[in-house]
């Protein structure tokens, strides 16, 4: 096991005990703060995923209730969706590089990864905003039908998460710049990376359920 395979448990301070049964049942010394923070944030992310699942359920129930208006087949442009998907997937990768750079105290890798992640996130957002504006301009806004209300709620909520994630990203660049690779800052970088990867997981569900199933099959 390398230090990078342990996920939220990344940064275990007792590597020699890993893999032995004692590592699970030994309560003598508490887990490192990094493990506890990562675990707590993972619980939050799961609650966020549960919230998204309610929006997915709403969308799936309402997908055919177009009230005589346009359906997904008329509205969705899969070329844009493919570019959005590429942006988010690559940004997940560059975010992972930034997390490794932070852990290795490698400033070039950290700042480079974070700036690329930010640019790809902004690229995703600009395409999505363009798509939403185009739909509203042709009279297919969220008030047109139950289908479109559910669509804008689900996809818009994901876009809002990406927006907030981008603000968090800029904050983390500023914090590392001002305070260096301090261990409390590194824990925040770990949480940010988990958040950003989770947004990509939700996007996988969105492009499959909303766009590919809606436009094609």
């Amino acid at each position: 096991m390398t230090a990078f395979q342990a996920g939220a448990g990344y940064g275990d301070d007792r590597p020699e005990e890993r893999g032995s049964p004692a590592a699970i049942f030994d309560h003598a010394d508490p887990a490192s703060k990094r493990i506890i923070v990562g675990y707590g944030f993972w619980i939050f992310l799961l609650s966020d995923i549960v919230m998204f699942s309610t929006f997915f359920a709403t969308y799936a129930v309402l997908v055919n209730e177009t009230a005589g208006g346009p359906s997904g087949r008329d509205l969705f442009n899969l070329h844009n969706v493919a570019i959005e998907t590429a942006c988010l997937l690559l940004s997940s990768f560059t975010c992972g590089l930034a997390a490794i750079g932070a852990r290795a105290h490698n400033a070039v890798m950290y700042y480079g990864g974070m700036v690329l992640t930010c640019l790809l996130g902004l690229g995703f957002l600009s395409i999505e905003i363009h798509e939403f504006a185009g739909m509203i301009a042709q009279g297919a806004g969220p008030t047109r039908s139950a289908f479109l209300s559910a669509f804008f709620t689900l996809v818009g909520c994901h876009g809002l998460h990406v927006t907030l994630g981008t603000l968090w990203l800029l904050t983390m660049i500023a914090q590392v710049f001002a305070k260096g690779f301090r261990s409390d800052i590194l824990r925040r970088v770990l949480c940010f990376a988990l958040f950003w990867h989770t947004l990509d997981i939700i996007w996988v569900a969105i492009f499959t359920v909303v766009y590919l199933l809606g436009a094609g099959a």
């Binding site: 390398t2 799961l46 899969l78 590089l97 490794i100 490698n106 990867h197 199933l213």
Partner: protein, 130 residues
């Protein structure tokens, strides 16, 4: 710019016991893990987009294929990007994930099942009643 140079790797600054900087080989192994994940995710995404518009396969099978591909890709993301593995130091994370998946499953399947039945049993709007 001096603020960055003060925190060079292994520069002698104080570190928490669990937070030694990773050494060169571990950095490369970490990057390799992300590269493998990225390659698998790109492959699965490309197959998804290809299969959604193709006429090469039996059309009714496409939605099921897309859902399977999406679940596979989510698995790839969990393992290679979020590092949720089956290792003993990951037991808590995996149990939390299992509980989350249970709730998501209940919400999705329960909503679809109930709403489908309500739709079936609703009096049609465009037919005269009685």
């Amino acid at each position: 710019m001096s603020s960055i140079d003060d925190y060079e790797p292994l520069g002698g600054a104080d570190h928490a016991p669990g937070d030694e900087p990773a050494r060169g080989r571990e950095v490369w192994e970490g990057v390799l893990g992300y590269l493998i994940g990225l390659a698998l995710a790109i492959l699965l995404t490309a197959v998804s987009f290809f299969i959604a518009g193709t006429f090469l396969v039996w059309r009714p099978s496409i939605p099921i294929a897309l859902v399977v591909l999406a679940i596979a890709q989510i698995g790839v993301h969990l393992v290679f990007f979020l590092h949720i593995t089956t290792g003993p130091d990951n037991a808590n994370n995996v149990l939390a994930l299992a509980f989350g998946v249970l709730i998501v499953f209940l919400i999705l399947v329960g909503s679809l099942w109930i709403m489908y039945n309500l739709n079936q049993n609703m009096t049609p709007m465009n037919m005269p009643m009685g």
